[in-house]
Symmetry: D3
Subunit: 333 residues, 6 copies
Amino acid sequence: MSALRPSPIAPTVDFERDGVQHGFLRLPYSRDDSAWGSVMIPICVIRNGNGAAALLTGGNHGDEYEGPLALYELARTLDPRNVSGTVIIVPAMNYPAFRAGTRTSPIDKGNMNRSFPGRPDGTVTDKIADYFQRELLPRADIVLDFHSGGKTLDFMPFCAAHTLLDKAQEEKAFAAVEAFSAPFSMRMTEIDTVGMYDTAAEEMGKVFVTTELGGGGTSRAETVRIARRGVLNVLRHAGIVAGAVEKTPTQWLDMPSGDCFAFAEDDGMIETMVDLGGKVEEGQVVARIHSTGRTGIAPQEIKAKMSGLLAARHFPGLVKAGDCVSVLAVEVG
Amino acid sequence: MSALRPSPIAPTVDFERDGVQHGFLRLPYSRDDSAWGSVMIPICVIRNGNGAAALLTGGNHGDEYEGPLALYELARTLDPRNVSGTVIIVPAMNYPAFRAGTRTSPIDKGNMNRSFPGRPDGTVTDKIADYFQRELLPRADIVLDFHSGGKTLDFMPFCAAHTLLDKAQEEKAFAAVEAFSAPFSMRMTEIDTVGMYDTAAEEMGKVFVTTELGGGGTSRAETVRIARRGVLNVLRHAGIVAGAVEKTPTQWLDMPSGDCFAFAEDDGMIETMVDLGGKVEEGQVVARIHSTGRTGIAPQEIKAKMSGLLAARHFPGLVKAGDCVSVLAVEVG
Amino acid sequence: MSALRPSPIAPTVDFERDGVQHGFLRLPYSRDDSAWGSVMIPICVIRNGNGAAALLTGGNHGDEYEGPLALYELARTLDPRNVSGTVIIVPAMNYPAFRAGTRTSPIDKGNMNRSFPGRPDGTVTDKIADYFQRELLPRADIVLDFHSGGKTLDFMPFCAAHTLLDKAQEEKAFAAVEAFSAPFSMRMTEIDTVGMYDTAAEEMGKVFVTTELGGGGTSRAETVRIARRGVLNVLRHAGIVAGAVEKTPTQWLDMPSGDCFAFAEDDGMIETMVDLGGKVEEGQVVARIHSTGRTGIAPQEIKAKMSGLLAARHFPGLVKAGDCVSVLAVEVG
Amino acid sequence: MSALRPSPIAPTVDFERDGVQHGFLRLPYSRDDSAWGSVMIPICVIRNGNGAAALLTGGNHGDEYEGPLALYELARTLDPRNVSGTVIIVPAMNYPAFRAGTRTSPIDKGNMNRSFPGRPDGTVTDKIADYFQRELLPRADIVLDFHSGGKTLDFMPFCAAHTLLDKAQEEKAFAAVEAFSAPFSMRMTEIDTVGMYDTAAEEMGKVFVTTELGGGGTSRAETVRIARRGVLNVLRHAGIVAGAVEKTPTQWLDMPSGDCFAFAEDDGMIETMVDLGGKVEEGQVVARIHSTGRTGIAPQEIKAKMSGLLAARHFPGLVKAGDCVSVLAVEVG
Amino acid sequence: MSALRPSPIAPTVDFERDGVQHGFLRLPYSRDDSAWGSVMIPICVIRNGNGAAALLTGGNHGDEYEGPLALYELARTLDPRNVSGTVIIVPAMNYPAFRAGTRTSPIDKGNMNRSFPGRPDGTVTDKIADYFQRELLPRADIVLDFHSGGKTLDFMPFCAAHTLLDKAQEEKAFAAVEAFSAPFSMRMTEIDTVGMYDTAAEEMGKVFVTTELGGGGTSRAETVRIARRGVLNVLRHAGIVAGAVEKTPTQWLDMPSGDCFAFAEDDGMIETMVDLGGKVEEGQVVARIHSTGRTGIAPQEIKAKMSGLLAARHFPGLVKAGDCVSVLAVEVG
Amino acid sequence: MSALRPSPIAPTVDFERDGVQHGFLRLPYSRDDSAWGSVMIPICVIRNGNGAAALLTGGNHGDEYEGPLALYELARTLDPRNVSGTVIIVPAMNYPAFRAGTRTSPIDKGNMNRSFPGRPDGTVTDKIADYFQRELLPRADIVLDFHSGGKTLDFMPFCAAHTLLDKAQEEKAFAAVEAFSAPFSMRMTEIDTVGMYDTAAEEMGKVFVTTELGGGGTSRAETVRIARRGVLNVLRHAGIVAGAVEKTPTQWLDMPSGDCFAFAEDDGMIETMVDLGGKVEEGQVVARIHSTGRTGIAPQEIKAKMSGLLAARHFPGLVKAGDCVSVLAVEVG
């Protein structure tokens, strides 16, 4: 029922107009420090005729930077004469979180990637999700959503798509991943899809591609280069930007089961025994958790439940019980 | 005058007793949630006879992990039969900051390395500094204080000592740096020494060695190995631990002038154009700061004022006006 | 379904009893600092026989003071012998917000005027709205809800009612506005009515009158006099209080379109170029936003999209992107 | 509909395995300081064959300690050879609240005992409630949920059960209360049962027993002894633990009407005129509330609306308008 | 030097005027929410001619209630015709802390009893201490300062004075303690006297008496009666209030050494094995600290280092490393 | 001694260079979110030869806007060809407070105008004060420091100077006030000068002029015009800017005694009975404080202790005991 209510978000751009437009999604947000305030989410539309449309997003989580760095730059530099169709760029999707440098929104603690399909009368995060669900996703043929590990995880750089029931759709997505040309490419099987932007796009039949390009709440020159090359490659692959895909080698990975993940059962100081990308044998100690209240206490050891590469790890020096400590992946293809 | 008042800190270890003792420096700290509470700073004393004494510290800043990871491990594993003299280990010097995972103390915002010589009637941080100044430093012949970049800076891994007026003292310190065997070794000329632990130790004539071994509020397997090898090497070099120094090659560096440092003049999202350890030419853009309030705005460019290696950089993805963006160093020797 | 559950709010007054009663709406609110605590919302009932009933409210937003100042005074001084019917006074409707001096509730950030029809099992704000929806509004024939600009907006003083589909109902409301006799009177066409108390009352067919009497989180002697005269005039007009309406001249205003509103697109320091009530020509600069990070930067200019009077403006000296900067109105009648 | 979605909680224990298992309910909880974090709720299962099952819980409110002290101890010491059937122990049901020492969850302010039946896609507190509703309660024949007054209330120690429509079920519950052998035993008639764990259990036909064993956010040696004896007695009474009930005398109490409760109408400093367990006559002053802004002001007196024993009282020295000041009970049986 | 600057505090009472005056110590305190604000500390002066003067204080720590309850009542009820001399009552010495219900000041975290002699240009707490040091203490012959355990400690009720070098002064203080007639009376030997109000008074040669009358951040009817009787007894004993001392039996206690105190070395949930006033033998377990992160872990035991009565204990259910767990005292006399 | 230590502040402008420079005072500030961060205080130097120097400041308190609005504009528009000498502009002196929109610094709660002469090794606010004391004030001949009422006070607009012992200096200051040409001009006799910037400047013999130009944490077009005209007038009067003073009429005022000020003795909702600039007779009620916990309570009345104009008043709708409620001034000359 609430789906019938119009979105409170007003765009200052016209999605049907050719050329480059830099504007905002204005979302009214009344609060103690601004009775008639709004959240102003930057949006850029670059259009040249009636071709295919790409929807490009960063800042789905607010502490991940490769995506925003690639997309603010793309919005500033992409010449519409090289475009055929439409490129919609929202470089910082959960803009309040992005401004705060936090994963979730400081306004409502909303995790954007668990808020779909959203609600027009929900929280600020819900309202943004609803606008993507009902206004932006339907306009797109291909969707690229940038992620990195954020402040608390670090990843080997990969582009990824999901295994899907619709194998034709899946095939298109994996082809786009291949075009992206990250050092690694991941086949992901999502177990818990509740609230994900990915699923929202896939259920509409869109070609959906995502990434994990580093983490720790920072970026590196190298990972930013991967992101910039990748987004152009995907647009070229889709025929929206002129020119050939700049292909570089990629290693395909798989996460075959829940044994990929290890979790801490105690608070403490973490010691990673293997660096990112390192090979791990089943039974090997991948991390130790040190109790710090006194000296002389033996650390807890966390052992690998399978063999593989260390694809991701807990980033901060301190760890809490329940935190994901490490993720292993296996090379395929 | 306040220097004559005894420290309120009570150790539960006996510095004159042989063997291994795991104990606390108990610092009374009355507060709303514990009227008769204390801060319990872990300390370990490993002693075997009347030889030289080393004072080893980590957690001077609470968000730096290579030092604590090396020192909790050393305290747990060092066999007193291999020791000749005394090893005093305080793996988390600013313990309240270390428990909170923050650079400064959550109690009083005290930056330990700007709090010397401390005060017995000051803040909690002041009282800890005073105890080191009056009780621990006088017991030591050699002092090793571990640092890394913390949550907001990232460093190429180096061990360092200061240029000193007393050249004999300086020479001993540089020899200890050489023994540490980090990948890089730094000659530092401190300009503003006010309140530093380093200076407090050096003014007492101690051999003082420090490090910067990474950063970002995390650690890597590789940097922890450097720290563990380094501390043992320094103790072997000093004759306190039996065995030969495990020497590996090191590249000496220098920071010749204030031109090493670049600062942001605007808030925004930072893009590092060069990764840590990369070569930079004078005039090259080392970083760009992107305005994020709307798309289509050209970033501010920050250019190198000299040529060198990128020795350190701002870590988080967002930057504020006044933040140090990059530090350059030159290879010497 | 939840509408069938009884309200958890228990009044300590009897709405059917003649005379003056000063009491509470007691709303159980279990929380960390009071396991069996309650919110105690002051209410006053002044009744003399079976005549018409007025429901008078202030503090719908907690940082607006003309309403509470008029209503606490009225509750203290209105002699039931001068009354014919019932006057129900809730001088601080969102009482937790009023006590905190904030627009929204410090308990749940609830904006009372966006919370109707409320829920008996929702937040504290939802529960209050539900009690008005199901218990208080049904008792009333005429409803007067006081507003001012609060801490972040400032208004020319006006009384207002909405254009309604039921023209007989609308006419009664505008007649009550005329009786109020504020310096200005406003015809309002509400676009987004979701959750408003106004709409809840109007949908029940009540005569609903509201005000904007100043702002900035303060009040002036003059605006308090307007409020006190206005509420008595409305009660006299309704025949609930004896005596003639004290009529003074009023200027009717209209807000013809969305061009009335201007919004900031940048953070900064705001400079109002016209004071409240001043005349503005289309294209005139009504405000400038100064960047403050350095000197020498030209301010952004905000221009009027129509001609009119400056009816409202952003109040605090700093402004954020998305804030409403100015509201224009045109004189009619 | 949401009830059909599986719980996100994964237990690390096997409810069908004999012996003692110490494990966790792992509840994924993504947040700013841990992107892939979890809440780890300790659980212990002690099983010996196919007999009856008891579900034992403490920490429903996080600042009540008799229950957790009895249950961590029971989990550590109960020998499965003395068990016939299954004992499921969750000593700190609202574990985030328990770790914070607060009544409600610091994550979402959830009051566990007002969150049933919960939701698998709600807040952290909702998800825990849902897991009890759908996974744990169905496994149990008898349910014992420990409460005390928490930081803001203090109670005479009693065990209690509710009057129920199903008199056979009620009789079993009162028999279990009698077996518990607290100094006092209470017949409770719940008025507002919305969201209670008690009601959730009773509606499934379980034998449900609860307690109030002191309060103030502390425990006493004596009340802990009552709790430990009580839980063993209930398990013996249910035939799950071998041995006879250790019966001690108990005085039955009743709370006959809303006159049992008195509430503050003003903020101030509270003075209890009668200590816990003291006899009170109707009209007697049970508490005074002192205004503290200046000296010389007469306190407000709060008088008993009935005669009885002081069964509970407001604990902190300061009181707010709306707080429950005192609860009276009458001796029966 | 700062001592020569006058206090910024302005009293609204005249210390030389006969009769009862209820007024304030007004302390200017400019802050964000009140540019020209003040702290208004209630004070009452009851004077009848030129006799001896008593200075009576509560709320030295803001979460202790027996003193304020006795002193607001005394200020309201003491008839100056029964007085000979002057009674100065400051029932809530650290008034900002008292209003917040916290041990220390919410403004500056100042612990009043560690802030003497204070400073006229220091924090708000420093300024209050300075006013007592230079203006109030010099006016007094006898000083009674009420304490209880506050929110984090609980005490057996006693009145106390210090052993002093001036044995005549000490004798007068112990005689006043005897007159107070608390159930217990304590001889205290203060080790660390830095900043104490007690010491400030004693160094001026005043007769200084203090108490510990309970704790937990609450009060009981019984402990309030002890406080009220005690303060009148001390005033009668001093000849300031007419009438005979109401003597009741008291048991003298002593705390012979540092072995009285036990401290926690771990965080956890505390279990008191002995209730307040209970007898303890050397080596007996007085408390256990339970780890709560998982079930099945043996608690840490804290053993008595001497025999005695449990005179005080940690109050909250959770405990942190460094907290004082228990205090033992021995019966003397 | 600390005065001999150099300031840690580094200016990026050269005070001896002709022309316009827009730069920063860079103050190193190490903190948890930026280990090597700085505060960047904007400064503008406009110089043309060796004439007299003016030091112009706003944002001494961070929530006062007329000064910053006049000074950012002046810095942007003043043509050095119209200057003879030097104009140093620091439009936001307590820059951290100004950015936060608060009276005092969010870093250290420092009130800049109570922090002089500052300390090079103190808080951030102390360091800024020290830089003005030792580096900027000595460069100036005339000093103009803008103030308004801030968020919690509102003033009739006036320019002011202090009565001084040095009557020649006083005369020059009053002449500059007269040149400023505010609607009102005030002779101020400061009682408590501790820590004031005013006094620091006056003690160096500088001509010091200040203002109060409105308040409430906002500005009006009219008061900004007064500020802009005033600063140019003062510069023209001093011969630093070319052209004649634009003289407009001013009414001189005096605050003859402490009877000018009235303070609240209770918390509540304030009602101003007279608007700013209104005439008040001795004994007249200037404000009432309403208790809001229940209806039906008579307000407290605050009466004028002398006759005069209402020169300033408490601004927010709520008031706390100790707040300054009103300031009266008398017309002179």
